[in-house]
Point group: C2
Chain length 196, copies 2
Amino acid sequence: MRYRDENKIQAIRECAIEMVAKDGLENFGINRLAKAAGVSPATIYIYYKDKEDLLTSISIEEGIKMTQATLKDFDPKMSFKEGLWVQWKNRAAFALDNHLSANFFEQLRNSTYKDKMMETITHEFRRAMGDYVHNAVTRGEIDEMPLEVYWSVAFAPLYSLIKFHNEGQSLGGRKFKFSEKIMKETFDCVVKGLMK
Amino acid sequence: MRYRDENKIQAIRECAIEMVAKDGLENFGINRLAKAAGVSPATIYIYYKDKEDLLTSISIEEGIKMTQATLKDFDPKMSFKEGLWVQWKNRAAFALDNHLSANFFEQLRNSTYKDKMMETITHEFRRAMGDYVHNAVTRGEIDEMPLEVYWSVAFAPLYSLIKFHNEGQSLGGRKFKFSEKIMKETFDCVVKGLMK
DNA sequence: AAGATAAGTGAGCGATTGCTCATTTTAAAA
DNA sequence: TTTTAAAATGAGCAATCGCTCACTTATCTT
């Protein structure tokens, strides 16, 4: 027997993330990836069934990493405001530290691969958020609402800010820069809207 | 001389939008497009310099249509709350009526083509929003904030809701359905957070 | 040392990619 | 009617695509 070379599989994963993030999902290809990772195209098919399997598998792994990072020091029994703030800080820190992963994930989430990848992620999310949101409702901190509405109000603004920052986009004349101060102000705004 | 056949160029545009929306940007190709639109591949290059020019041109056109639709019956002199509500209703109606366009636009906005397309769109947006937001600030309805923060809080939640609806995604067990009632509730939540 | 088994490879398959060019078609201008 | 010039075409180019296979290499068990 011969054991799998963990350096190889890791090189494949990291190169795939970097390529998609930098050149775009539409320019991602197996032959390119093999060359970039320094392996044979055939080697990739030892680890992944096909191109779709590779992309969805990696995006699920990254999604789980992101979810776990977001939930660091988080406890479902926290007050609503404190709990959401912990998640915002964690999520922002992860996106800044791993902006290739974050970009990769965001591209997959807006592609035809989204269905397969989001199954696992949303299940993970729901398991983690269910109790916390329910507690906040029963404590009378927030109104009951569909989880999709909650996500849209509580997280979409943060994701948007991170995107503006990471992609160097700008609506004003000067380039937008993320900062803890801006994040806190935006957070206060969102929490004020959500809480009774 | 021979005149350009407007049916042809329109067929090219509409098929491109449909193909990207349904099969994904990563599966979009010129030869496919030509076959779907019933024209020769070479014909496409009469109207567009290359694949990138085609995608960015169409996305800019659709973006401008979307912006104009969003600003229907909108007046920069409106009160903050009324003005934002008009835009939410318009934007949601457009996305439901033209969900292929909306999906196409969203995919381009999350791809490597985003830089080229967003230049024009954000300029249009800034021209339209500048006065309105400024008025709201001087009237003391909202605090001053970077345009990116404003956009993230005021619009990102709506875009997220529309995506949940159009793409049939779901966080809860049952499928999420958009409705005027849910939109209004979400809107109230957002406005409460933004206004003093 | 020999045998077994899975990891890993490089060449290359058929299909498809973005794009071009020699040619034909069309309709206005002369 | 003839000329003219742009619109439109279909065949097909070089390059690349996703993927496979016959084969070599490494490391375990016997």
